[in-house]
């Protein structure tokens, strides 16, 4: 078969793929980016006002993965048969150019430095026996100081709005005092605060916590990024999560990177290209390229390359590695292999407070990344010793804009009637006078929570589906219950007329039918030991050195923060080392 040859193939047109494609073309490489979904342009798909049609958008899944072609199977425990995830609910992977980076909210964190070496930190502070049996607690193998320039770069590309705490060791603003030091300010000032967020700020401060403005990749002003692309300012319309921003103010690969990348003649984007597998040479040491299905012609295409970047959504990265035979699949019984190991999620629950009828929160107003948070119970910022769990949660009011259908489906909450006049009154009361507070927590990795290929179900192209084995664990349930308990005094300090606390119950089982978060992680994790990680600290496959696997698939634990900022920083970090080290001398960058 006659295959075309390029310098590098990038799989997936989301944030990670777009960043790698931009960096590699800047390095002079010819790059083909393969995206299985459609081309997406704000001016066409996001044409106002149809762009903010909730039925067409979030309800009918305009920008999400088409599960009728490929999905995952899910089970809670090893002894169950996994069933296909046929209706989007618990998590919402993207599809099409921009990927989930087009329909995300825009919360744009860096990382809590302690989370990068969580095992080392927990052992140092509480001893090895503090780690529960069956928890695969691990370090990333990279430090915050090493990643800082790339967090900075990502913020400048995204046009991130925020308020710093310290810059180069000096107090520079009223930002998050638990946040690590910065080399520079945010490119834009923090977003304005809606009423619910400012109320949370004063109440949290009164209780003794340390509120700060959420860092948001929603532009607080018009902005031109280092690539020369331009953004308009956010107007708090609330159509962020699930939508492409018609104001060009929510950062996305489409708005912030691709306009510049598409001008580069060395760059080619091929849509409707479903990658079937990465092709390896005879002894499985080198990738020779990829095989993809051209979804327009239904023909299989071989494309050769010197370098293959797997940068699709988290679980697609793991799926592709398993389908391609890159690395050894994880086996939970024997605790061997690495691909699929440390599959993690996040532990998120929502509490609600109702205010007096004179206090208007107007939940339809909002911006996906804006709000006020506290980090007092995140990461290693508090004493876990007497609590006996690992992990934590930032807590925030992130009024992202509740659309009418979502509000109606969600119902009035609390103990309101479920129909009739009382229901209607409660709906109005909730929509106009309530606010929600999230505990947006970490999720640890466990020996019997993992990803592998499903033995029964296959996708539309005849390949086995990816199987998720996932359940909530006691450590994370207790963490969530503890942090939610800390929300109660804030709600009281707000003067709420009533409230309900959302928390996981003891022994609660993971339920796929309710939206929780799309922040899936792990399965192809980074680390310093090839026995317990898939990729090295530069996100290079331990087994096939010309394959890099970029994304939240590299996270050894689910962190409390939203993952996109970390994904972008890791992408720029990996790209930097590919450009400065790998391309000069291709081969393993860390000796196993």
């Amino acid at each position: 078969m006659c295959a075309k040859k390029v310098d590098a193939i990038v799989i997936g047109a989301g944030w990670a793929g777009s960043i790698l494609a931009k960096e590699l073309t800047e390095a002079g490489l010819s790059v083909v980016m393969l995206e299985r979904g459609d081309e997406r342009a704000t001016a066409v798909e996001g044409d106002y006002p149809s762009s903010i049609d909730e039925l067409r958008g979030a309800i009918r899944h305009r920008l999400f993965q088409n599960l009728s072609q490929s999905t995952v199977t899910i089970r809670n425990t090893l002894d169950q048969e996994a069933l296909p995830y046929r209706r989007l609910a618990a998590f919402l992977p993207g599809e099409g150019v921009g990927g989930a980076g087009l329909h995300w909210s825009g919360v744009h964190f860096r990382v809590a430095p302690d989370d990068l070496a969580l095992r080392t930190n927990v052992v140092a502070r509480y001893g090895k026996n503090f780690i529960p049996e069956g928890m695969n607690l691990q370090d990333y193998g990279v430090t915050y100081e090493e990643l800082e320039p790339f967090f900075d770069k990502a913020e400048k590309v995204f046009g991130t709005s925020g308020e710093p705490y310290t810059i180069k060791g000096k107090i520079a603003g009223n930002g998050n005092r638990f946040a690590p030091d910065r080399s520079d300010a945010f490119p834009l000032p923090a977003m304005g605060e809606v009423y619910s967020a400012s109320l949370f700020r004063s109440a949290a401060a009164n209780v003794g916590y340390h509120p700060y403005a959420l860092p948001a990749a929603n532009a607080s002003a018009q902005y031109t990024n280092p690539y020369g692309v331009q953004m308009g300012p956010c107007n708090f319309c609330g159509y962020c999560s699930g939508y492409d921003c018609y104001m060009y103010s929510k950062a996305s690969p489409n708005v912030n990177i691709l306009p510049a990348l598409r001008q580069d003649p060395k760059f080619t984007l091929i849509t409707k290209a479903h990658v079937l597998k990465v092709n390896l040479d005879a002894d499985n040491k080198k990738a020779t390229g990829v095989s993809y299905l051209d979804l327009r012609t239904k023909k299989q295409v071989e494309l050769d390359a010197d370098l293959v970047i797997i940068s699709a959504f988290q679980f697609h990265n793991v799926h592709l590695m398993l389908l391609s035979g890159i690395g050894q699949p994880y086996n939970p019984q024997q605790n061997t292999g690495t691909v699929g190991r440390n599959f993690v999620y996040q532990t998120i629950t929502t509490s609600r407070a109702w205010l007096s009828p004179k206090q208007y929160t107007n939940l339809f107003v909002g911006a996906g990344g804006a709000g006020v948070a506290i980090d007092d119970f995140n990461s290693m910022n508090f004493d876990h010793g007497p609590l006996g769990f690992v992990g934590g949660s930032p807590v925030w009011v992130n009024q992202a804009g509740v659309k009418p259908i979502a509000a109606a489906v969600g119902g009035p909450g609390g103990k309101a009637p479920t129909w009739g006049e009382g229901y209607k009154e409660a709906m109005v009361d909730t929509y106009r006078h309530s606010l929600t507070i999230d505990a947006h927590g970490s999720n640890m990795a466990y020996r019997d929570v993992y990803l592998d290929l499903d033995p029964t179900y296959s996708n539309a192209y005849g390949q086995p589906l990816l199987r998720m084995t996932f359940n909530w664990k006691d450590n994370d349930i207790r963490m969530n219950q503890y942090v939610v308990g800390k929300i109660e005094p804030i709600i009281k300090a707000m003067g709420a007329t009533k409230y309900s606390l959302g928390m996981l119950k003891d022994g609660e089982v993971f339920d796929t039918r309710r939206y929780q978060t799309t922040h899936l992680g792990g399965g192809a994790i980074m680390g310093t030991d090839p026995k317990t990680s898939c990729v090295n600290r530069y996100l290079q496959s331990w087994d096939v050195s010309n394959v890099f696997v970029i994304g939240a698939s590299a996270f050894p634990q689910g962190m409390g923060y939203n993952p996109t900022g970390m994904v972008a920083a890791l992408a720029y970090w990996a790209a930097y080392h590919i450009r400065t080290t790998y391309l000069k001398n291709p081969g393993p960058m860390v000796q196993a």
Partner: protein
């Protein structure tokens, strides 16, 4: 030092003529000449009319719809059969500057030869070399013009040419008139000559001739033209409210380089002129053009200056949307253009003080509302921006109301627009900018 785009090109032109053949030039001189010719082609905006997506560069075939039928732009690639490969340099020069085809027939004045008559010998030579040696031949015929006999007889065009198009000698004499300094002379050459700005921005007479071909013909030159594809070219002179009064040199340079600046964004045919043409010019040339434009006295010197009036913004910000069209404005326009009408340039252009919407003829504004607008990404500003089309959402009355509001608010004080006018303009509304096919990809 007058007025080749490149004095080197002029030198090589002479050298080539002496040598008798283009092909005898040394390779590096040839590639320099080709590069210079490419620049002249960009300054002359050739591809805006002669390149149609999907046919190949300069392969022609762009349709010009006239009431009497359709014209198609020519294939100007060096293909000997379908293009201009058989043209000698003299024949090429005669076509570009005098509007005479190789077979002696007159070109329709959609080809701006009355402006190109001003182009220097050196530029013409570089342009010829570029089209012969730097452009890929495309063996594609253009559709035949569909103008029926006897209107298809080109004799009237010959008369038209004789009456309205200057001789090369006369044009060159006007080019050589002294202006304030070399830079302004350079700007005048670019604007009046290859740039052919007047083809759209100057008024035309009964026979569709430009009423003035250079500023030496008087202040009608660049004082604003008749609607093209539904959009009305503004005055480029120092006219208050409807012209470039208040634009700085940098504003003009930025607009020509990127299609956007703090005062507005390009739409309609101007996006093509920038995309294919001016964005490729050097900063020095753009500054020269800007300085020349800033030197043009107003055509209507009695127009008063625009001053911002905050009352409309104050009313909207106090929740008062009782003014005619204010509610439509709040619901459909304010998110980007803001209650104060100042927009968020360069992403979203200001409406307050924008010369496009204070003109007597409201066609541009009404058509932008009806059909939307797309600003493509440019090399120096890769982001594309789109304004949605509202003709499917708003009634003619609503469009009349909102356009009236926009024309009145923030000190704009232009005349109201009626639903009947909007209904009439529906007929000439351009195709939706987004559907037209220039999909801005971000």
């Amino acid at each position: 030092m007058k007025y080749g785009l490149f004095t080197r090109a002029a030198f090589f032109g002479v050298a080539a003529l002496l040598a008798g053949s283009v092909s005898e030039l040394r390779a590096e001189d040839m590639s320099a000449l080709i590069a210079q010719g490419k620049y002249v082609a960009e300054a002359s905006d050739c591809s805006a009319c002669h390149t149609v997506r999907g046919r190949g560069e300069f392969a022609g075939g762009m349709e010009f719809k006239l009431p009497i039928g359709s014209l198609y732009s020519s294939n100007i690639t060096p293909d000997p059969t379908h293009g201009i490969g058989a043209y000698s340099e003299a024949e090429f020069s005669r076509a570009v500057r005098e509007g005479v085809r190789r077979d002696g027939a007159s070109l329709y004045p959609a080809m701006p030869f009355p402006s190109y008559a001003r182009m220097s010998d050196g530029d013409l030579h570089a342009l010829y070399v570029y089209f012969m040696k730097g452009v890929q031949p495309v063996a594609l015929a253009v559709p035949p013009n569909s103008i029926p006999w006897p209107l298809s007889i080109r004799l009237p065009m010959t008369i038209w040419r004789a009456v309205f198009s200057p001789s090369v000698v006369a044009a060159q004499k006007d080019v050589n008139r002294p202006l304030r300094d070399d830079e302004i002379e350079r700007g005048a050459y670019l604007v009046e000559g290859p740039g052919h700005c007047g083809a759209c921005h100057s008024p035309r007479g009964m026979a569709l001739q430009e009423k003035a071909l250079s500023n030496s013909n008087g202040s009608l030159f660049l004082s604003g033209g008749a609607a093209i594809d539904g959009f009305v070219p503004t005055s480029l002179r120092q006219d208050q409210r409807t012209g470039l009064a208040g634009w700085s040199e940098d504003d003009i340079v930025q607009f020509l380089a990127t299609g956007r600046n703090r005062r507005g964004e390009a739409f309609g045919g101007m996006t093509d002129a920038i995309f294919h043409g001016t964005q490729h010019l050097t900063d020095a040339d753009l500054h020269a053009m800007a300085r020349y434009l800033l030197s043009l006295q107003p055509h209507q010197p009695t127009l008063s200056a625009w001053h911002y009036d905050p009352s409309a913004a104050n009313a909207l910000q106090a929740g008062d949307a009782s003014a005619q069209g204010a509610k439509v404005y709040v619901d459909h326009c304010e998110a980007c253009h803001r209650s104060d009408g100042r927009g968020y340039a360069p992403a979203f252009p200001p409406l307050a003080g924008n010369p496009v919407l204070m003109s007597a003829d409201p066609a541009s504004l009404v058509h932008v509302v009806q059909s939307g607008a797309v600003l493509p990404g440019m090399t120096k500003a890769p982001s594309a921006f789109a304004m949605p089309a509202y003709s499917g959402i708003l009634s003619s009355q609503q469009i009349a109301d909102v356009v009236t509001f926009i024309r009145k608010a923030w000190g704009n004080n232009a005349a109201p627009v009626t639903a009947a006018m909007v209904e009439e303009l529906r007929k000439s509304a351009p195709e939706s900018a987004i559907k037209k096919g220039i999909i801005p990809l971000n």
